[in-house]
Amino acid sequence: MVEIRVLEKNPYVLKLHVKDIPLHVLNSIRRTILSEVPTMAVDFVVFTINSSVFYDEYIAHRLGLIPLTSEEALEKYKSPEECREAGEKGVFSEDCFVKLELEGKGREGEIVTLYSGDLKTSDPDVKPIHDKIPILALTGNQEIKLEAYARLGRGKEHAKWSPVSIATHKYVPNILIDYEKCKGETCKECIEVCPRNIFDLVDGKLIVKSEKIYECTLCRYCEEKCPVNAIRVKWIENEFILTIESTGSLSTKKILLEAVKILEEKINDFINSLKERGVLE
């Protein structure tokens, strides 16, 4: 039975301590999150006027990287594969694309910065997650007018569609101290050397701070520096720490659920194709 403990949870970060799950299962979930969970991002930009000093490609790239809220969009819009085809044909239909418009003029002797908040969206459910991301700057008689089209996509196509900035798993450290060898108060070598400060002395006895154990990076510097070889850095089998850091387009909860759903579909597809070919009954 999989046992999960939440180590950290806020709107952007989710940190879980997962017990009794094989590494390959956890890793497939992690990789599904990175490359398969769809989100909204700008994919096509039509420039009507651009007399700014920034090139069209530069502005288009910046627009693409702005995360857009996609929680509702997942059900509302067609799948990434369908929309990709429609976009390549130049069909910007409403069931695939959200239109974001940007317009601005510079003023003489002054720098006007246009922010993500200045984008006018055709669907209020899909808007930049932050209003203060600078897109470009104008001055004098410079002018910009553009239409950006956002669609659903997957991280494997371009990283801008990835719902997370980082998704990692790591081992749970298990630090064993041999108290027969450890010299305690007189040595303190490992305490000074640990980059994460996970050791402490309590009544002359070396201990690992329980709240800091998850911060250990398994660097084994303490093991190496201990003059009497009293420390062993090990890890616990089948226990991992899964960290997800969302870009804000989807909540961490939605990302996990969506990833598991996609993975399940893929496995079902695999079983069905085996059945079709008569490999399975």
């Binding site: 090139y55 995360p67 900035s165 870009t247």
Partner: protein, 66 residues
């Protein structure tokens, strides 16, 4: 040119933090402490701030050749 929207290495959103960072550092605060305060944890994201130069202020006044 302008400050990048996302960190080159990890892809975390950092674009919206630049103006506050710049304002506070110019006011004399310690850049490291400002970054801690803004919640920029990883060193890949931190170097984006520390190594950036806002060159577009000057380029803005020259005509574009294209």
């Amino acid at each position: 040119m302008m400050f990048p929207v996302r960190c080159f290495t990890c892809g975390a959103l950092i674009g919206h933090l630049w103006e506050e960072f710049k304002k506070r550092v110019e006011a004399g605060e310690d850049p490291g402490k400002v970054l801690d305060d803004l919640g920029v944890k990883r060193y890949c994201c931190r170097r984006m701030f520390l190594s950036h130069v806002d060159i577009y202020y000057e380029i803005l006044n020259f005509p574009k050749v294209s």
